[in-house]
């Protein structure tokens, strides 16, 4: 049905896809995995000739035997959506914001003269009829993605291309959308080409898996085999990034540190903390402690209040009631004392690219904290020696190679190391890390996790890790606290909470969490 041979794509002199060969038979499901910039989306777009004019496409793309590359415009328009359709990434922006979704679903049917109606399509994706009259912004992210799926099925294509269809969705919603997609593909015997950076998503949906790296296809085979026994080092790195909850090999935190140190006073203690945004209660009576040198994972879906809790602990928002106690003293709300507190607690944000001012060199970014707080006396060459030490601690060696760089000249992993160095330079005692690896490429993720663990080992640095990713908690944390609708519903040691959950919500999260474990795989 789809046959891609020797596909190469150039932008100017830059080659983004080289010599890719792919075949897809009707009813077959193929996952195309790769990190950002690996060229996987370019391959998807080339199937319907949707690349910008500046792209030069070589090779052959046969769709039902016709070469898409050389088709006339009229033929191409007829093929688009009727033979193959696309579920685009980021439904919010891929739907026309000022048109009712019903009209958008109906548009290709009218255009291609297909029979059928919007009502049936909405039913198939389990959306109520009334939603046809909604505008995209009135729907939730999951509903928007269902609309995209309904739209893709409107003209009864035999091939559906799904480009990161669940990225930016919550784990629970992601599981629901994937279920709908899987069911429809099976029922209607569609061919599915699914593109994702997330191996676990592909593992759950596709029989076959192809892995792209720097524009080349590096591995291809049955999904289970590829994941269980990766041949190419890049595939191995990708699979390693998805820790299997319960697998001791993926438990990197050292066992001896997980012993609760009850004798000691905790480094950070949160008592009955409540935070309101206007009328909504974001954080509702939370109790939480982080011991000295302990790594605690605060787990929850987006909107659970975990980020607000972290901001309040940092003193970036004011609580409505409750107390935050750091090292035996209540955290001051303002003034010099707050500034002094901030020296001890440092923040690491999710997206390092935006956590660094694009105009500031690495030197300035790392030294920012020193410039705010002043350099301790008696250090020769103050700033430079401290910055160099911090940068090398964050494993950017030699530091002199990086100090003059601007953030955009660094990779995502290097940027996150700069952010961490900027925190280390003040010699803090607690690190609050908000999704520290979520926006990093899979292969870099492990390195940053290892770095955080090493800092704890060498410096005794405690961390509060905020994440939606249970796998990360399994990998790194000593204790886990699960947050749901502003409340901590369960907390305890990692083994206890993740292997033996007592709360329904924790169980729901664990069920929804994508997993590459041996017992999983496509369940058709």
């Amino acid at each position: 049905m789809l046959e891609i041979s020797d596909l190469s794509v150039h932008y100017g002199h830059k080659r983004v896809v080289s010599d890719v060969n792919l075949r897809l038979a009707p009813g077959q499901t193929l996952g195309l995995a790769g990190e950002s910039g690996s060229g996987k989306s370019t391959v998807a777009m080339s199937v319907l000739r949707l690349l910008p004019r500046s792209a030069r496409v070589d090779g052959e793309i046969l769709l039902d035997g016709d070469d898409v590359r050389t088709m006339s415009w009229g033929r191409l328009r007829a093929v688009r959506w009727a033979s193959a359709s696309i579920v685009f990434q980021g439904a919010m922006h891929s739907l026309n914001p000022v048109q009712r979704v019903g009209d958008q679903i109906a548009e290709p049917m009218r255009l291609h003269g297909t029979k059928g109606n919007v009502r049936d399509l909405l039913e198939q994706v389990e959306l109520p009829q009334e939603k046809a009259r909604s505008y995209p912004h009135e729907l939730s992210g999951g509903q928007q993605q269902r609309v995209m799926i309904a739209m893709a099925l409107a003209c009864g294509p035999r091939l559906v291309i799904a480009d990161e269809p669940t990225t930016a969705l919550d784990v629970v919603v992601q599981a629901q959308v994937l279920k709908v997609l899987k069911r429809l593909v099976a029922e209607q015997d569609l061919g599915l080409l699914m593109i994702s950076h997330d191996l676990s998503v592909l593992a759950e949906t596709c029989d076959d898996l192809a892995v792209m790296h720097r524009g080349e296809l590096v591995e291809r085979g049955r999904t289970r085999e590829v994941i269980a026994n990766p041949q190419h080092p890049h595939t191995a790195a990708l699979t390693a990034a998805f820790p299997v909850i319960g697998d001791p090999a993926h438990r990197w935190a050292q066992p001896e540190t997980t012993e609760p140190r009850t004798t000691e006073e905790p480094l950070l203690a949160v008592h009955e903390l409540t935070v309101d945004y206007g009328r909504t209660r974001a954080v509702d009576g939370v109790d939480l402690t982080v011991g000295r040198g302990e790594i605690v994972a605060l787990v929850g879906q987006s909107g659970s209040g975990k980020t607000t809790l972290a901001r309040t602990i940092m003193g970036l928002r004011k609580p409505s009631s409750g107390r935050v106690i750091f090292d035996g003293a209540e955290v001051p709300r303002n003034g010099k004392a707050l500034k002094a507190f901030r020296r001890q607690v440092q923040l690491v944000l999710q997206d390092p690219a935006s956590a660094l001012n694009p105009r500031h060199k690495v030197l300035d970014a790392v030294a920012e904290g020193l410039r705010v707080h002043g350099i301790p006396d008696g250090i020769p060459d103050g700033e430079e020696s401290l910055v160099t030490a911090a940068v090398e601690r964050a494993e950017l060696r030699p530091a002199s190679l990086y100090l003059e760089s601007l953030p955009h000249e660094l990779s995502g992993g290097q940027q996150q190391r700069v952010v961490i160095a900027g925190a280390l330079v003040l010699q803090p005692r607690l690190l609050v890390a908000d999704e520290p690896v979520a926006s990093l490429d899979a292969s870099v993720r492990g390195e940053i996790v290892a770095l955080l663990l090493r800092l704890r080992r060498e410096l005794g640095l405690a961390s509060l890790i905020i994440t939606h990713d249970l796998g990360l908690a399994w990998q790194i944390a000593d204790r886990v606290a699960v947050m749901h609708q502003g409340k901590i519903v369960e907390q305890g040691s990692v083994e206890q909470v993740l292997l033996n959950p007592s709360h329904d919500y924790t169980r729901a999260l664990l069920r929804a969490a994508p997993n590459l474990g041996p017992d999983l795989g496509p369940q058709v």
Binding site: L316, R342, L347, D351, N357, R359, E368, V372, S400, G422
Partner: protein
Amino acid sequence: MSRFNAARGLSRASGGISTFLSHRAGVAGAAILVVAALVAVIAPLLIPADALDVTRVTAAPWQAPGVEYWLGTDHTGRSVALLVVQGAGTSLFVGLTAALLAVGIGTLVGIVSGHFGGLVAGALLRVTDFFLVLPALVLAIALSTVLPRGLGTIVLAIGLTSWPSTARMVRAQTLTIEARPFVERARALGGGHGHVIGRHVLPSVVPLVLVNATLAVATAIVAESTLAFLGLGDPTRISWGAMLHQAQLHGAVPQRAWWFLLPPGVAIVVVVLAFTLVGRALEAVVTPKR
């Protein structure tokens, strides 16, 4: 190592310059502005005072362009060419100072209302929006009618009425920057208002302000010519707008004295267009294409 780093810094700076140079229209605009500035500075030194003094000129009025007066003479017999050259100074001076005033006020208001929350910011935003909607030129006309005639009045009238768009833009940029995680990181590091504004907000606002200022000069020059045309200019100074005021007053149109009408107008258009083109080229340098 330091030489390597210096080279890197140099290549970054030259990247901006080469982007500007790739906008041919912008380069042409910059060249025109250099010439106009030179003319404005040098001309008054070379032109004899007699040539522009109505009581001492010897030529006949309304002379068409010829060998002696190659842009003709005005209603009093002064050389139009000399008048245009002399007028460059006034137009450029008013344009630059009024734009500076407007952009200065706008930047201050924009940063204050964007960075600080609360009542003051709310009130400032309200006032900005109010003046943004009002026709600036109409206000400028009203102001210069009630204030005594003079160069200062014109600058004040234009400057005080054309700041809101800058304020709006600076405020938007301030809000954008403040929403970025790196500002949150700076706050978490313990940085106060001064640190956030000085290290993060200002450096990202300045390039946009520069672009805005260039375009503001263009608007201010048109505004100056309009005020002068309506007879609200400084009566003791020659400016392009004032020349057109005289042309209208003394019937250049019915007399078909095109040589009195065209040169000052063309001068305005060329200089204003030059500022606009430079501004657009700078904009392209500041905001890279997606």
